[in-house]
Symmetry: C2
Subunit: 565 residues, 2 copies
């Protein structure tokens, strides 16, 4: 391919709307173009990269007995009504009507389609286990697309669905898929990806893992234990909190606390530590604005994902209006109007002598003993785990929090979809059973962007050979020089016929322009043909990552390149 | 791949809702599954076929300097508002709003996206010509999906867009693409595809061709001249009609014609030929139900596609209600209430002494002379060309009409999109110009189904080697026989390591079941390992199309297969 024919703009200035490097470089390098909020077109270099990533994934999926299929992008709503997700998923699921007013949805995940595809086929235990996967466009109406290809609304994804007759068979397959994922991330050039325990969210099921590329620009928070190596998404990590009750529970007493608002002020006023306070955080349900009050120990914060998963519906921070009778800033559990859903975090278990809001403006209670004053309540885990917290695995105070990009995920779904969609099989004993499912996703574009995040410098991406848009970039510096032109042409033809993927720049531009464009394209090996080199009958081979910089005799160049590729 | 692991149902009965063979066989053979009206999932055999077709197309598009890109499935409505098609296209374009009430569309074609992708890049003549293409899912809300993959709502398409600085450059590229298409159809196994002149419809532009597979189940009507070889879609073929005026124009006279309804009855009553009658056909505009009256010679019919293209909006056959003052069955051009749009077909040019409706129930006029009685009117071509009609190319009465499936199309678009979307470049003289576009489409699924239509028998598809889901199908008949099992296993491993794509059936089923399943899978070469064959230390190689049926010594099988593949 001639560089001058490559469609796409390349430019030097970092676009002002690009926060992360991969986004900026992929816009600057003519890899992709903005079409609308969270929607991009891909140009040839990115298309070549993603096709190579897709092929690696395909090989690994075939290697674990996957069968490539294709589900529809547009599906009848009835399929999602069967599983119950038509109602339970929020506005990220696009719903619309066709010309005959039949409701349709845009696929954002395909558990329903997978069950529909195989439920007539797999009615006997002898058909199991099996896995089907596809590589396909999806649309998820994200509230806040960002980071270029890291979080978009339209994206290409490999999604796989496995079906099993026992939990142990699913467990075995889940492990095989985990290994296949490790191979995929290694092959595309980011072996540093780690897997962490994750929350299953809207997918249902219980055991799940996310594959995380640890980077400061990641949008997920990962809990890692410096002691035992425990790793989990913050949303999925159980908090461990120890309390000790005072020997005597004081009487509960309403105290006037004028101008005392924050937890710090409350603790200062009463001369107590935050651990001895009970904080109330108010939310509202998105659908009807009803109030939910979460009570938690004063030194801790609520992890809203944990809370949402517990509730099973979407919420937002409460706006406290006069009519609602909540005393903003002074909410507490004692004598709280029972019009509200009240939830207790497990950090309040085994406590007494707490200070809490008095449910009257400028009043607090002291001496709260939940067990005595409220009665038996259920405690749940809503705590946002903090750096230095206690590891739920080894029990030591060795938790650190880092940020990561989720580049893949695997879920054990159980029978959530097979039961709701009535997919059954007859087991060996002739009994009707529900198959057990697993599902396994990788976002192709996000993976490409993640590789770019890890492998780039200020001048452009440094693509690993396995997914590079081309393998070799020939720069004919001073192509107006006939000897240069001829030599570069010959090299180009020779490499092509050796099966090498070559991009060839013979434009009449300065070496500076040529090299900065080549840097943006990030091809791993560069051959420089120039009048100076030709005087020595050689050319330069330079690797994009600068680890290779050699002069090679012209007649040995092809051979050397084959060796390096 | 082991046959027993292949996900998908295979069965003998032709599904009652399948009208055409390819549809029936691809459902019966576990290639695809119905999900909703005009929406299917593909299973592994079809996915393998379409991936091979896509690769052939990709090679041919790369061969004519195409650059693979990817446009979004979901696009902002604003892009389609720029071109004007957001308003002009009917309900086949899916429109919906996102969570923030921004209007979006589902891509059914990507001229707008192509212009948006390249218009910032291609601002100088030196960037031209270039072509970008994609292979991607599209959704078109067809009113009547039918024929399995022949007409669906969701489909995968290769669509290409080329940009040029002169009509002659577009013409040259158009020809190159025409040749590439011929190579594609030949490579996938249907070299009999012909190209015919076509109508550009909603695409705009002027010159266009459709690639047609001639078959009785086709939904397009193709005009072919038995004399000069002229070929065109019926919608695009100009009609040629000769009239001769009588020397004397009689006076126009209203005549009572009780119980005279049809053209035949009218001609019988007045003792004239149909050529001497003027028929009125009434339509209504879809958007507002306003009436359009088309006048045409009594022996001819209206081609509604020609009419729609002339009007630029969608219509349906009129329902004549009392309030509209049209005299159903007696409509004529003379003294017709001028509330209606009236159009004259060119078959009425140079006529007189016509009989036409009297615009009063049970009355007709005789002696109509349009020029004298109506005045100067514009004549347009709305005629449905008939078998035996006059060829617009050679002028002989040698038109025949055949049916075909459109498997591809190419259009010269002119500046329709570049002008409306303000894409410009500076030419050599420094003048601002609009580039000229071409576009080129092939439906992947329809092409697969078309190959199946041509290549099948009662028992299943007969896939050409180039696109077959596998190259070789091993049938181990009586796999409970250890010798059979071992021999078949060895052959399987040997062929796999020779790089052959093998599907291997070692199920404990009868030879009948095994062979009928193999027929449905349509793999070109079959190896039969059976106890009987093993007695002679050989196996049978049978081709699916029955042209090959040989016994081969076991140790030569691998070699023979490599030769045949």
């Amino acid at each position: 391919m001639k560089f001058e024919k490559l469609v796409g703009e390349r430019f030097k200035e970092r676009p002002s709307d690009c926060v992360i490097d991969s986004h900026a470089l992929m816009i600057r390098g003519g890899y992709m173009k903005y079409v609308g909020n969270g929607i991009y077109s891909s140009l040839l270099p990115l298309k070549r990269i993603t096709r190579k990533i897709e092929q690696i994934i395909r090989e690994e999926m075939d290697g674990i007995d996957g069968q490539e299929v294709q589900f529809p992008v547009v599906m009848p709503a009835s399929l999602w009504q069967e599983s119950g997700r038509y109602e339970s998923i929020g506005s990220e699921l696009v719903r619309f009507n066709d010309r005959n007013k039949n409701p349709l949805v845009l696929g954002m995940t395909h558990e329903e389609a997978a069950v529909q595809l195989v439920r007539d086929y797999a009615q006997s235990y002898s058909k199991y286990p099996f896995m089907v996967y596809q590589i396909q466009t999806k649309f998820r109406d994200e509230a806040r697309p960002r980071g270029g290809l890291i979080r978009v609304r339209e994206f290409t994804m490999k999604d796989a669905y496995s079906f099993h007759t026992s939990q142990s068979d699913l467990g075995d397959y889940y492990d095989r898929c985990h290994h296949a994922y490790e191979r995929i991330f290694t092959r595309v050039g980011i072996p540093e990806v780690i897997s962490v325990a994750s929350d299953s969210g809207m997918m249902g099921g219980n055991i799940s893992h996310e594959f995380m590329l640890m980077t400061s620009i990641g949008e997920d928070s990962i809990v890692i234990c410096r002691g035992c190596g425990y790793k989990a998404n913050m949303e999925a990590a159980d908090s461990v909190i120890y309390n000790e009750r005072d020997t005597v529970s004081n009487k509960i007493t309403l105290v006037h606390t004028p101008n005392i608002h924050t937890i710090e002020e409350v603790c200062g006023f009463f001369n107590i530590t935050k651990e001895k306070s009970c904080k109330a955080v108010a939310y509202q349900r998105n659908s009807d604005d009803s109030y939910i009050v979460v009570l938690i120990r004063g030194d801790l914060d609520v992890n809203e994902t944990k809370l949402t998963n517990h509730l099973g519906f979407d919420i937002h921070a409460a706006t406290i209006v006069d009519e609602c009778e909540l005393a903003a800033g002074y909410i507490g559990p004692y004598l709280l109007n029972n019009n509200y859903s009240v939830l207790y975090d497990k950090s309040l278990e085994n406590t007494n002598n707490l200070v809490c809001g008095g449910n009257v403006i400028e009043y607090h209670y002291t001496g709260l003993d939940i067990q005595r004053d409220i009665g038996n309540v259920m405690y749940h885990d809503f705590v946002k785990i903090q750096d230095g917290g206690i590891c739920p695995c080894c029990g030591k105070e060795s938790i650190s929090i880092s940020r990561g990009i989720e580049v893949g995920n695997i879920f054990q779904l159980g029978t959530k979809y097979t039961k709701s969609m009535n997919m059954t099989y007859i087991d060996k004993e002739g009994t009707i059973q529900y198959p057990i499912m697993g599902c396994y996703g990788i976002g192709i574009g996000r993976l490409a962007a993640s590789v770019c995040e890890v492998h780039h410098d200020d001048f452009g991406p440094i693509w690993p050979m396995a997914i590079a848009p081309w393998q070799v970039h020939i720069c004919a510096v001073r192509s107006d020089d006939n000897a240069v032109k001829e030599c570069a042409n010959n090299l180009y033809e020779e490499l092509l016929s050796s099966g090498i993927e070559v991009i060839y720049d013979d434009r009449a531009v300065s070496a500076g322009v040529m090299f900065s464009d080549a840097d943006l394209l990030g091809v791993p090996l560069r051959i420089i043909v120039s009048p100076r080199n030709l005087k020595e009958s050689c050319c330069e081979i330079v690797s994009r990552d600068k680890t290779i910089l050699i002069k090679v005799a012209l007649d040995l160049t092809n051979e050397k390149i084959l060796e390096l590729v």
